[in-house]
Symmetry: C2
Subunit: 225 residues, 2 copies
Amino acid sequence: MTLLERLPQETDRMYALRTIRENIIDLGLAPGSQISENELAAQMGLSRTPVREAIMELARVKIIQVVPQKRSTVAMIDYDMVEQAQFMRYTLECAVVELVCRMITPEGVLRLEENVHLQQFYMQNGYYENIRGLDDKFHETLFELAQKMQIYTLMQNLLIHFDRVRRMSLDSVKDLKIVQDHALILDAIKRGDAAGARTIMQTHLTRYRFDESAIREKYPQYFEK
Amino acid sequence: MTLLERLPQETDRMYALRTIRENIIDLGLAPGSQISENELAAQMGLSRTPVREAIMELARVKIIQVVPQKRSTVAMIDYDMVEQAQFMRYTLECAVVELVCRMITPEGVLRLEENVHLQQFYMQNGYYENIRGLDDKFHETLFELAQKMQIYTLMQNLLIHFDRVRRMSLDSVKDLKIVQDHALILDAIKRGDAAGARTIMQTHLTRYRFDESAIREKYPQYFEK
DNA sequence: GTCAGTCTACTTGCATACTAGTAGAAATTG
DNA sequence: CAATTTCTACTAGTATGCAAGTAGACTGAC
């Protein structure tokens, strides 16, 4: 497991949650691997309490399975969970972008434009690795503008299943189209074109559908037999 | 605060969570009231640990506000949260019922029919108080049939804001129409009529929109000034 | 009386000890 | 040797103590 650096004003519990979460996504804590509150606590230099609380939070979305008095394991890749995460995101975000079209402000447009222009800049100059963060931020901003941040937070919890699979399928060929999508969505929002924005969002989010069998072939050990 | 009876195989943490949650909904723990891990633990006959873990889970959806080293309070009625809970339910459940129409099985139809018939029975015989539980179960079953139970669970966490307000506005005049709605939704599902089912669901879920100003007038002390 | 400072009682965050229960190794018995 | 039993080392659940910090009451100086 790789340790992260502490952020200012971060409690031990938040640090533990962030660390475990990141390690699950980048497979530092591989699917199926056994974890123990004691062991993780020792590795992070904390006591069991904050680590346990972090594990419990991750267990709520079944990315960690806790079996009392026996063991805790990082969940195997579960395509039903990946599917549920995608369904939740697709359904909510299409509705959110419609909402944004109806309540958009000049400040909101500005925030989205800044983001999209930066994406286009990185794209043109080949800094593809910077785009992922801006991509995530773009979508978060939509929820913020629609005043649906609590929903976004809940959704993120489940999306860890999706994020883990996304990390395994690193075909960044999609990047070009993704940036284009964002620009088109922004245009629709500026026009107040709710139906148009939804249509583009539907196309956009469907690009992320990963081929289960391809990943299953590449990482068979991470799947339930 | 009213104590519940312990369920079999229920851990202290689950018991604490269930107890606190129920008391928040039925106003045994009123909006704005101050709570303390120690005090709640004493009342429930538990130690701080399981109570603390339960409180943390509720704090994630901001129904309890925890201020470190100061206090924890039950959140005031926050209509933005109620709105987000409703939006989430409306958006997801309309999509889910469409999905159910496309993947319904004879067993699924049977389960829904049993539920609806029981609702109609209680309705005709005046056992209105029994309908609420069946209502909740009907909607849960839809998520189950669509294989989206994890989403349902996450959604329930946020819906506590909605449930609390629902408790305050006890006009059960809506019951008759609600049971009719369920029957109509079931019919649409049996026909495999996704568009029709969605339309009825939209109407159905819109019935629950509570008048904020009415509740604000009835319980001014539960709102932020 | 008024203001400043201190003290007390309380809060949650974290550390640690103990309990109940499991799994697998080791020992014992046939 | 084989089957069974016991023991050991581990797990997570819970209890409790301490640390860090806050708020309000109390005390004392002016």
